[in-house]
């Protein structure tokens, strides 16, 4: 599992390979077989192994053969997922791994995983507007498009999730799963309100709030000039004096999101860029289970 640490994976330059390693490593680590789909189409029988759920035993076949078999199903692609990746300048922050790099790898991994399960996956790259929109497809070679788009784009511009949601909603008619990767550096009330609008349209939403460890701890030392990565405003502060106030303000900001998403059952995960990718994927699968 050490292989899934962001620091280790950073050495692998190809996004495709990185995504494969993450997903395969993640799957290998699971003791339980992954849930392959929630629309059922019989594929074949397989022998029962200890530990398999009893309720999935084909009793009719047992009656004929006096052996335990389980039915294996082919997953139907009726899930349409969109990966919304914030590519604003603020996502470029990070000492070793930027938030964008982390989010991009995570998005690629999820795309790979979803396509492995024959789900259709789309991609939206945005800052204050939608920069790149790739519709959801379930073909295996669709991954190439997605990874290509993810690789090509570098952080720029300001964040405006509200505006992006406003632009995105008319484009997507089908009930979909939206997976948002962003640092959400915007007025929380505005973001929550717009995401709730999406939720009201029967879409499922998972929010991965990408944070950097330094951003959380504010562990800078010495009088410094801080430049806002999005609007280039520069200020002079002493971080040690500011730390306490900063943290409390940040906590308030994060709890606003946490509390704001809870009533509308939006899955909100704070992801720090030093957390292994598999933990994030687990969060996703948990969500998938609930959706099924």
């Amino acid at each position: 599992m050490e292989l899934l640490n962001p620091e280790v994976l950073e050495k692998i330059r190809t996004l495709n390979l990185r995504a494969k390693i993450i997903v395969k490593g993640f799957l290998t680590g699971l003791h339980e077989s992954p849930y392959h789909g929630f629309s059922l189409e019989f594929k074949q029988h397989r022998p029962y192994y200890q530990g398999d759920p009893i309720n999935r035993i084909n009793w009719k076949l047992y009656a004929r053969t006096e052996r335990f078999y389980l039915k294996k199903y082919r997953a139907e692609t009726n899930l349409s997922a969109f990966l919304l990746l914030d590519k604003s300048n603020s996502m470029n922050f990070g000492k070793e791994i930027s938030k964008f790099y982390y989010a991009r790898t995570l998005a690629a991994s999820l795309a790979y995983l979803l396509l492995q399960q024959n789900d259709s996956v789309g991609l939206v790259l945005f800052d204050s507007e939608i920069e790149s929109f790739i519709p959801a497809r379930s073909q295996t070679n669709h991954l190439k498009h997605l990874l290509g788009a993810l690789s090509r784009n570098e952080p720029s511009g300001k964040t405006s999730i509200s505006n992006v949601i406003f632009q995105l909603l008319p484009l997507i008619k089908k009930r979909s799963l939206f997976i948002l990767f962003s640092d959400l550096l915007e007025e929380p009330e505005k973001v929550i309100k717009n995401i709730n609008v999406m939720k009201a349209k029967k879409h499922e939403i998972i929010v991965f709030h990408i944070l950097d460890r330094e951003e959380l701890d504010f562990s800078f030392r010495g009088e410094s000039m801080f430049k806002d990565m999005e609007d280039s405003k520069t200020v002079q502060v002493d971080p040690e004096n500011l730390r306490g106030i900063y943290r409390s303000k940040l906590d308030r900001f994060l709890s606003t999101y946490r509390n704001g998403f809870a009533p509308s059952r939006v899955d909100y995960f704070q992801v720090v860029t030093d957390v292994p990718y598999d933990r994030v994927l687990t969060e996703y699968l948990e969500k998938r289970k609930r959706l099924s």
Partner: protein, 541 residues
């Protein structure tokens, strides 16, 4: 230190400038996703920071500059600060003890001998006043001390003793005859003091004596014999412990030329001859008018009319009338002369329009009539016949020749008629020089500056600015026409009158405002400001 030190230290100003640029380079720059969580009060926009940083730099440079200025001990070149430089010193003569300090001091002028402390202290409220406080006006300053901001009083004791020449005079001096110079020396020490006396006449030492002065007043004299002329005398003694100002006394002695008088009379009048012979004149007696010569003549037992036809054209004469009708009138004159002799007013006789100003001195008004001069009551004073002035006097009945003022008056009159008017007098510093002159006089003070005395009346001029002891020359612009010796008042020397009042120094807050301390005070303020700015810029609480 000086300007050279200032320029040597000046490069130090580069230190804060270099520090400023180094610290600027060392400041970390961090890109951060958002400044949303920064508290406004805790963050400063960089442009404000730059401004404050610049202000800090200026403050530091200014601080260093002030320290350099303080170290270089430079004078502040602005007029505003002159007030701190003012040193007000009592200009009265007893303050000559502080002669050295006076060079750089502003000396309070005196008017009629009274220093104008109040006026100048109001004008220069911060400064140093040094005075011995014996003059009028200072006690008022002490009382009002609190009303002069920045002044505080410090008392210091007076010298333990003093020796000073308080007076000097001479008997009438005539050429070829010995005259006496008398002087009074005060010894204020509690024991006899040995000293050297030095008498100079026109800068030439004519007497030098070692003397022992007993306690108190010492009357001493020198016998002097000098040729005709006016001499500037100075008498000096040595006393380093006491005041210096009274160690020298100035006086003027006019050594007169003797006048020749011819007494024309049938009979020899021994009394008249004896009276005239004393000091002032050389007297000759004769019976014939044709023999008359000399500077003046007396004609006894003759009427004016009798003599008028016989008078020579050059020699003036005085007709002495005996037993005639105007005897009564003549008798009165001697009383009137006694007032005249006090001061020389003879020049007024030359300008009749000025006669109206005479009565105060003559006790009655003199007017011009058919005869040359009358008293207002009709008594003749001087008659003019041809080119001669006739003074009708009686010699026998009233014994005019023995009148104490007659001979000096006669001498003055002859000098006047001979046109040999020389002004010489001895005054004190708190007195004014009064000059009666037909020309506009100039006064050359001892320090060499020429002053113009104030005209206060017809041919009367007054000069009050006798700030220094010494000789004041009266000049018509070309030649010296007179000499006035000015000395301090004798009470200045009396230490017992001063000991009660002591010397008092009144100090202002000059330490706060002189160059070095002023720079240091401003530097301290700059330091406080720079610390404040530094805390504001580099530390946040």
């Amino acid at each position: 230190m000086s300007f050279s030190s200032f320029f040597l230290l000046l490069p130090l100003i580069a230190v804060p400038i270099i520090m400023h640029f180094i610290s600027r380079k060392q400041l970390k720059r961090t890109d951060f996703p958002t400044l949303l969580f920064f508290v406004k009060s805790e963050m400063r926009l960089v442009r404000w920071f730059r401004l404050k940083e610049l202000l800090l730099l200026i403050t530091r440079v200014f601080l260093l500059l002030l320290l350099i200025l303080a170290a270089a001990n430079l004078k502040i070149p602005f007029k505003f600060f002159d007030r701190a430089e003012v040193l007000i010193v009592d200009g009265s003569p007893s303050m000559e003890k502080f002669e050295m300090g006076r060079k750089n001091a502003f000396i309070v002028p005196t008017i009629s001998g009274i220093p104008r402390f109040s006026y100048y202290l109001k004008k220069h409220p911060v400064g140093v006043l040094i005075t011995d406080v014996q003059r009028n006006g200072f006690s008022e300053i002490i009382k009002k001390g609190g009303k002069f901001p920045g002044i505080r009083v410090k008392r210091e004791n007076f010298p333990a003793g003093n020796m000073g020449i308080v007076a000097a005079s001479s008997s009438p001096a005539f050429e070829g005859e010995e005259f006496v110079v008398n002087f009074k020396i005060l010894n204020e020490y509690k024991k006899n003091k040995k000293t050297i006396l030095l008498l100079k006449a026109s800068d030439r030492i004519i007497k030098e004596e070692n003397v022992i002065l007993k306690v108190g007043d010492n009357l001493m004299s020198f016998d002097i014999k000098l040729p005709k002329g006016i001499f500037a005398f100075s008498l000096e003694l040595e006393d380093k412990e006491g005041f210096l100002f009274d160690n020298k006394f100035y006086f003027v002695v006019n050594v007169h030329e003797k006048r020749n008088i011819y007494v024309l009379s049938d009979s020899f009048s021994a009394r008249l001859m004896a009276a005239l012979s004393h000091s002032y004149f050389r007297v000759k007696w004769g019976r014939e008018l044709a023999d008359v010569n000399g500077d003046f003549f007396f004609a006894c037992d003759m009427s004016e009319k009798d003599i008028s036809g016989l008078l020579q054209s050059t020699v003036p004469g005085i007709v002495c009338v005996q037993g005639k009708t105007n005897t009564l009138i003549s008798n009165k004159i001697s009383n009137k002369i006694s007032t005249v002799i006090e001061r020389s007013v003879f020049d007024k006789l030359l300008c009749p329009e000025g006669l109206s100003e005479i009565p105060v001195r003559y006790n009655c008004l003199i007017t011009e009539g058919t005869e040359f001069l009358y008293f207002e009551n009709g008594d003749p004073f001087l008659n003019r016949i041809k080119n001669h002035l006739i003074l009708p006097i009686s010699l026998e009945k009233n014994d005019l020749s023995l009148h104490p003022v007659f001979i000096p008056f006669l001498f003055g009159l002859i000098n006047f008629l001979s046109d040999e008017m020389i002004h010489s007098s001895n005054i004190r510093m708190d007195e004014e020089i009064i000059i009666e002159s037909s020309f506009k006089p100039g006064i050359i003070a001892p320090e060499g500056i020429t002053y113009e005395p104030t005209r206060v009346g017809q041919n009367i001029y007054v000069f009050t600015e006798t700030k220094e002891c010494g000789f004041y020359k009266i000049t018509d612009g070309k030649t010296v026409k007179g000499l006035v010796a000015v000395n301090t008042h004798p009470t200045e020397s009396k230490i017992e009158s001063l000991s009660e009042e002591e010397i008092i120094f009144v100090f202002g807050k000059q330490n706060l405002f002189n160059g070095v301390n002023f720079f240091l005070v401003i530097a301290f303020l700059c330091f406080v400001l720079s610390v404040f700015l530094e805390r504001k810029i580099f530390r946040i609480k």
